[in-house]
């Protein structure tokens, strides 16, 4: 699905990514973890097309995406939800999701139609909003939503283009303990059901171990380890680098 091959990126002489390679298999939930400064965000930004890599390349279903602008990568089938999720704050939940749907259908340039008369996009948007559990808040201005709900709007917008691969950057960041539980359940329930391929970064180790089929551990800009959750939590290098003893079994 997604292939990252020998990607390097440096900023002002600091090597943020050093020959990083990894693959995300179709249908899997793949976590990207590592301590702060390990290069997760840089890698995320390379994949979404915000930074061109200095070396190496990224391919989405065989098609090269590295070096392309974000909106082009999105049109090739990448769904993106940012860590600091912010909707279009002048619009309601419904308008946000409708616009995402229209943009993906290439219908957002229209001048002679009314936005509110786009009944097809509206139907799709209602469905997406239902999926993320905000059916009772469609008319709410997004500026009035709590962070947890904003993240759900963000995910609904990311799903609007029926992405081949969904990228979630820190889906639990900033949420309270109870919100975290419901977000993890939500991601698992919804995205597994949809058969979505997911690549996500997350600091919450419990959530990672519960959600991920496969985990790539970054450390100082390099891939330290990769494997299933059981392998990773017992990997001596990973424990030393950042997991801590408590996650090791036996």
């Amino acid at each position: 699905m997604l292939e990252i091959k020998h990607v390097s990126k440096s900023f002002f002489g600091f090597l943020a990514l050093d020959d990083v390679s990894m693959r995300v298999e179709k249908g899997s939930f793949h976590a990207l973890v590592g301590p702060n400064g390990a290069g997760k965000t840089t890698l995320f930004n390379v994949v979404v097309g915000r930074y061109p890599p200095d070396g190496g390349e990224v391919r989405l279903e065989e098609r090269r995406t590295s070096g392309l602008a974000t909106y082009r990568v999105v049109r090739m089938g990448l769904g993106i939800s940012f860590q600091r999720s912010q909707a279009f704050l002048s619009m309601s939940v419904l308008e946000n999701v409708m616009l995402a749907v229209l943009a993906h259908q290439g219908r957002s340039r229209a001048l002679m139609r009314s936005f509110s008369a786009e009944s097809e996009a509206k139907t799709t948007a209602y469905e997406l909003i239902g999926w993320v559990g905000l059916a009772d808040k469609t008319e709410t201005p997004t500026a009035a939503l709590p962070l947890g709900d904003l993240k759900r709007v963000d995910i609904a917008m990311a799903l609007a283009g029926k992405p081949k691969l969904l990228l979630l950057d820190e889906p639990l960041a900033g949420l309270s303990r109870s919100e975290r539980v419901s977000m993890v359940n939500f991601i698992e329930g919804l995205l597994r059901g949809l058969g979505i391929t997911l690549l996500f970064t997350e600091h919450d180790t419990d959530a990672v171990l519960r959600l991920a089929d496969r985990i790539t551990v970054l450390h100082q800009g390099r891939v330290l380890a990769e494997g299933g959750p059981d392998e990773i939590k017992n990997d001596a290098r990973v424990i030393e680098a950042f997991l801590g003893e408590e996650y090791a079994e036996g």
Binding site: Q86, F88, L89, S90, S108, L111, D154
Partner: protein, 302 residues
């Protein structure tokens, strides 16, 4: 029902005005319409994309000069110069927009100002073609358009068309996409919108309509002057827009009405118009940050 009543009242007033107003007041009313058209065009970019252009005088002026020079040198009938004025203004906006809309906020404002001053300098100095600082004078727009009644209705028509276009854009998917880019550019790109194309299209449309305002100014003044392109003209349209309220679709028109009428009134009594304007702006910023339209409470644009 109530809104429709107001609409009829405004329409009747606008249509009857030339038959009620004495000569001088009609001339002022035409100025109100020209500035209202210009401000509504300017606000297409300002309100929908959040980008503050300080160079819209260039499009106004180039529209005016296109019309004036075609009449003077090629003896085109006045009305036929409208598409040419709109076309050259659009072409200039496309060019300036191409280099400016990629930049953000203050850089966009400074770049549009710089480009406009550049165009002003050319018009100001190119005596052989534009007449330099003497301008293009003594124009004869024909018998019909020399009658202020006819010119008033032409200005009203173009202003209403521009206004309806602004409403159309605000309610269309295109307008939503522009506001999405304004609200959060990174998120807009992440749903597949390419900001550059949208911003350039909006900027070009806005510049083209500003050219139509310049076209009207030529018939009103029977001349074109480099002042039309000077930065103070850009400031005028910004002031009128903010005075009326940029967040309301009627705001720029309302602001233009007050700006022109107040200016005409104050200037007939004292030479201290800039001082009065300064005080009005001060009061506005302090007490009415959302402009005169903010007095109504409701956001007419939404």
């Amino acid at each position: 029902m109530k809104a429709r009543g107001w609409l009829y009242l405004i329409a009747a007033t606008l249509l009857a005005a030339p038959w009620v107003l004495p000569g001088y007041a009609l001339e002022v009313a035409i100025q109100v319409l020209i500035l209202a058209l210009f401000a509504t065009a300017f606000n297409l970019v300002f309100a929908e994309t959040g980008l503050l252009s300080f160079g819209h005088a260039a499009f106004f002026g180039v529209g005016a000069y296109t019309s004036a020079l075609l009449m003077q040198r090629a003896s085109w009938p006045y009305l036929l110069t409208l598409p040419a004025a709109v076309g050259t203004a659009a072409a200039l906006a496309l060019l300036i927009g191409f280099f400016s809309v990629r930049t953000s906020r203050i850089y966009f404002t400074m770049l549009t100002l710089a480009f406009a001053q550049l165009v002003w300098a050319v018009v100001h100095k190119w005596y052989a073609f534009t007449g330099g600082d003497n301008g293009v004078t003594g124009l004869q727009p024909g018998q019909l358009w020399s009658d202020p009644h006819a010119l008033y209705y032409l200005a009203l028509l173009l202003t209403v068309v521009t206004f309806l276009l602004a409403v159309r854009l605000h309610l269309a998917p295109f307008g939503y996409a522009l506001r999405a880019i304004r609200d959060n550019q990174a998120r807009a790109e992440a749903v597949g919108l390419s900001p550059f194309g949208y911003l350039l299209a909006a900027f070009t449309l806005s510049g083209a309509l500003a050219g139509a305002a310049g076209f009207l100014q030529v018939a009103w003044q029977r001349s074109a002057f480099p002042d039309f392109l000077y930065w103070t003209k850009s400031a005028e349209v910004i002031i009128a827009t903010i005075l009326g309220g940029a967040q309301s679709i009627l705001g720029p028109s309302l602001g233009s009405l007050v700006f022109v009428e107040l200016g005409a009134f104050v200037q007939s009594h004292t030479e201290y118009w800039p001082l009065v304007l300064g005080l009005v702006l001060l009061g506005l910023v302090l007490f009415l940050p959302r402009g005169l339209a903010g007095l109504g409470g409701a956001r007419a644009g939404d």
